[in-house]
Amino acid sequence: MNDRTKPSSLLTTGISRRGALKGLGAAAALGTAPGFVRYAQSQSSEPIRIGFQAHRTGIGAAYGRWYERTTAAAIKRINDAGGINGRPVEIITEDDGTDAARGAEVVEKFANQHKTDIVYGTLFSHVVVGSAPAAGELKMPYYVVSEGYHVASGKMNRYVLQPGITDVRAQCRSVAPWITSNVGKKITMIYPDYAFGHDHRDFFGPAAAEQGGEVIAQIPIPPTESSFTRYLPQIPSDTDVIYHVMVGPAVLTFVKELGEFYGGSGPKLFGFIDSLEAVDINSPGLEFLEGSHFWEGMPRYLQDGASEHEKAYREAVGLDENGASINDAKDVSTAAHMFGCWETLYIIKAAMEAAGYRGPEDRAKLVEATEAMTEFPEGAEHPQGAKVFDGKVHQVFGSQNISVVENGRLNVVHRTSIEDGRYEPEADYTTQPL
């Protein structure tokens, strides 16, 4: 199958999908391509250069693939519509190996060698945390798509922003009211015993209590565990809901053993799709999930009431109705997270236009322009839905989806309000010097 709509799309549509993700040295070729005459009227036809810090190898590679596809689709659409401030956008991809130390190196390389305007696209928290000091030191705007609470916590710096995806704290808060009113009030949490699981433990428990729910048991599972039968008897018998956020290769085993433990009955289940991103929900071993609920950032399966914008986004990225690649039905996407790339790139575009961004000398202005943003209405640029941005904590807030597994598909049953996820900000980056 071919990604290109036409063999000569570089010439006819301005930029091909593969061509959207350029390597070093490609700028000159782009600038002289006939498709770029439309940029000639702008002050400078030099491309805007976005450094894409990508997990192309290492533990994050499966996510990296879909972040790359979403990025390519968004850039193609942005360029087809005239680029940013009348200039074409060029993506320079550097692999960080999903490695925190290399992450910092990559940011430095973007700043000093590739001289990109900004750095964008990081998913894994440890890479964000490892790279943030370099971004701050080099005064390089660093737009992450990571979902971690690290940005909003105030522990990063003024140059680190997360405007395109909500954080885990907001996600936990958002789903608490619905769980306590619709699934049950007595909740047992099963989570991997490290930072990711601890986030859920620390953020969901208090949020559930505010809604009249009660976490009656917390069962941390050591991360290297691959069989769970000895932990399952710890689940109290009066549990209404099991809140599970297991991740890693043993998730399928976990679900299977949970099903065997309860033998078809038992408490209701609520999980985060993080556990099963890029995994077919109809895989053997997952049968016990039928009827259970999941958080989804953006629905994997095309919903009946999907907006035109959502459909257009799915088509641009290349998703079929089941959330897999249109070219490859087994290649299930990371749909719940990757929309963040698309939306972040449109925020970068909007902020650059608001700041009248011309080049690296305007990076501080770009950060200020991003901080000044408050609302992103639902639309082609924000197909996941409307959002509110808090410039003080550099974090966006939005609606979450709660889906039920029905006949081997995830169907959205509830969409939380933006307010459901809001919490008292704990930081104010705008007081830091630029």
């Binding site: 190898t57 999903t98 490695d99 440890h126 490892g130 701050g136 522990k155 990711f196 986030d199 290297t224």
Partner: protein, 481 residues
């Protein structure tokens, strides 16, 4: 100015690093170590395969105790001559390969920074290291025809007159240069944080190529590619598993004959201890490549596999693991051979026996190579096709594959995981069964009797059973890194 900037940056980076460490310890983190295809394998009855694999290897050994070894020996000597071919294409093959290497190195510097879009890392790690090794193992010494050092060496040797070098590579040096270079190669592949980075790989490749070209001028191409340049040494050794045998003829052509898989191993000259260690290092490095990703290994050292920090954080541990795997494997092998020689005869001489018997681990090495890199070959092979068509990522489409949609799903889902697992398990078990056959035939030649061969092979058979189980366990364990 520059030094001032650097000093400021260093201070900042240091402060940043301290902050990073502090934050890493404190920060909540999300995990995306997803329930990939190993998750499906965890649901398969892999334990049965482990038992079945061990049983197959044990049964092979038992059958060999009673089998007519002279017949097996004769089988190994069977050849089906196919005629001869001229050798002139070698020079052109080498020149073409060198040209390709140069073009790839240029792409490494000038092309995309993305290791999955730049053809250099894909061609080196996937097409050459995985693909060509498999071709060599199945067919024969294809590398001989395309060795990129041959043509430039011929040219330089003709100009300088150093046709056989000007220094004799000392015999006592054995294969040690190759051992050292292979360790460096394996370290770069498995431990170094960024072996896929196109620019760094290009620099490494230039350094490796020129160093070895110089050594070939000094010691002669034939000698250095037999005992020094580790890729040629490895390729030549692995080719002994293949079904084609080639050799020089009186009229300066190359005779070609067909043989049974592994038959050439039985006839191979015994290796000196350094050569034996080279082969053990090659097998050890692929084994460690599997081991270092397992929950078991990471758990031993307190590394959370669900939030693997990245290679930079485990370089010391990785180096230790690579060396330790090699040492344990070598100790196991030499102990098994030594014990076997004692059981077979009072005057058993361990080192020559080890040098002959070590050829029997080639099928295992090949099986590990196939099993561990099959997935990478299938997926990254597609990226390679796309990257070759548009090597500098400037929109050209040389072979019509530049826009290829990489079918990552080819290995996804339970069904594919089952297929992949069966292919891997089949290769591991098959490789070990062939290894037992080869070792037994070699032992028969060493000792001259079926009975002595059986005694000498009992300890090695135990090792092979253990390695079968280990190999299957590696492929069925949860992995995180």
């Amino acid at each position: 100015m520059a030094s001032e900037r650097f000093a400021r940056w260093s201070r900042g980076a240091l402060a940043g690093a301290r902050w990073t460490i502090a934050l890493l310890a404190l920060m909540p983190d999300q995990a995306f170590a997803h329930a990939a295809d190993r998750g499906h394998v965890l649901l398969l009855p892999t334990g049965h395969y482990l038992v079945g694999g061990a049983a197959a290897v044990i049964l092979t050994f038992i059958l060999l105790v009673v089998a007519p070894l002279p017949a097996l020996d004769r089988l190994a000597r069977q050849r089906l001559p196919l005629g001869s071919v001229p050798v002139w294409p070698r020079l052109w093959g080498s020149a073409a390969c060198l040209l390709l290497v140069c073009a790839l190195v240029a792409a490494g510097f000038l092309g995309s920074r993305d290791p999955l879009s730049n053809p250099l890392p894909l061609m080196v790690w996937t097409v050459f290291w995985v693909g060509l090794t498999l071709v060599q193992g199945v067919t024969g010494n294809f590398w001989w025809w395309i060795d990129p050092w041959y043509a430039p060496w011929r040219l330089l040797a003709a100009i300088s007159g150093w046709k056989d070098g000007f220094v004799v590579l000392p015999v006592w040096l054995g294969h040690w240069p190759a051992v050292v270079l292979f360790f460096a190669f394996a370290w770069f592949e498995l431990i170094y944080p960024a072996p896929d980075d196109p620019e760094r790989l290009a620099v490494a490749l230039i350094g490796y190529f020129l160093t070895n070209l110089a050594a070939m001028l000094v010691f002669g191409h034939e000698q250095w590619s037999r005992r020094g340049e580790c890729l040629s040494v490895f390729m030549r050794m692995i080719a002994r598993l293949g079904v084609m045998e080639a050799g020089p003829t009186a009229d300066a052509r190359r005779s070609v004959a067909l043989c049974l898989p592994g038959a050439k191993l039985v006839n191979a000259e015994p290796l000196p201890p350094s050569g034996t260690l080279f082969l053990l290092l090659a097998l050890g490095s692929v084994s460690f490549d599997g081991l270092m990703r397992t929950f078991f290994w990471l758990g031993l050292f307190g590394i959370n596999p669900l939030e693997f920090p990245g290679r930079s954080a485990v370089m010391g541990l990785g180096t230790f693991g690579l060396v330790a795997t090699f040492v344990v494997l070598a100790l196991g092998f030499f102990s098994a051979v030594g014990l076997g020689e004692r059981l077979a005869s009072a005057a058993g001489n361990m080192l020559p026996a080890a040098g002959a018997l070590v050829w029997s681990i080639i099928p295992i090495s090949m099986a590990y190579h196939f099993s561990h890199y099959l997935a990478a070959l299938v997926v990254n092979g597609q990226y390679a096709l796309a990257a070759l068509s548009d090597p500098l990522m400037n929109g050209v489409d040389l072979f019509g594959t530049a826009g290829l949609h990489v079918q990552a799903g080819v290995l996804m889902g339970a069904e594919r995981a089952w297929m992949l697992w069966n292919l891997q398990a089949g290769a591991i078990i098959g490789g070990h069964v062939l290894a037992v056959l080869v070792a037994h035939t070699i032992a028969f030649r060493l000792h001259g009797s079926t009975r002595a061969a059986a005694y000498s092979q009992a300890p090695l058979a135990v090792l092979m059973v253990a390695y079968t189980v280990f190999g299957l366990w590696l492929l069925s364990s949860p992995t995180g890194a």
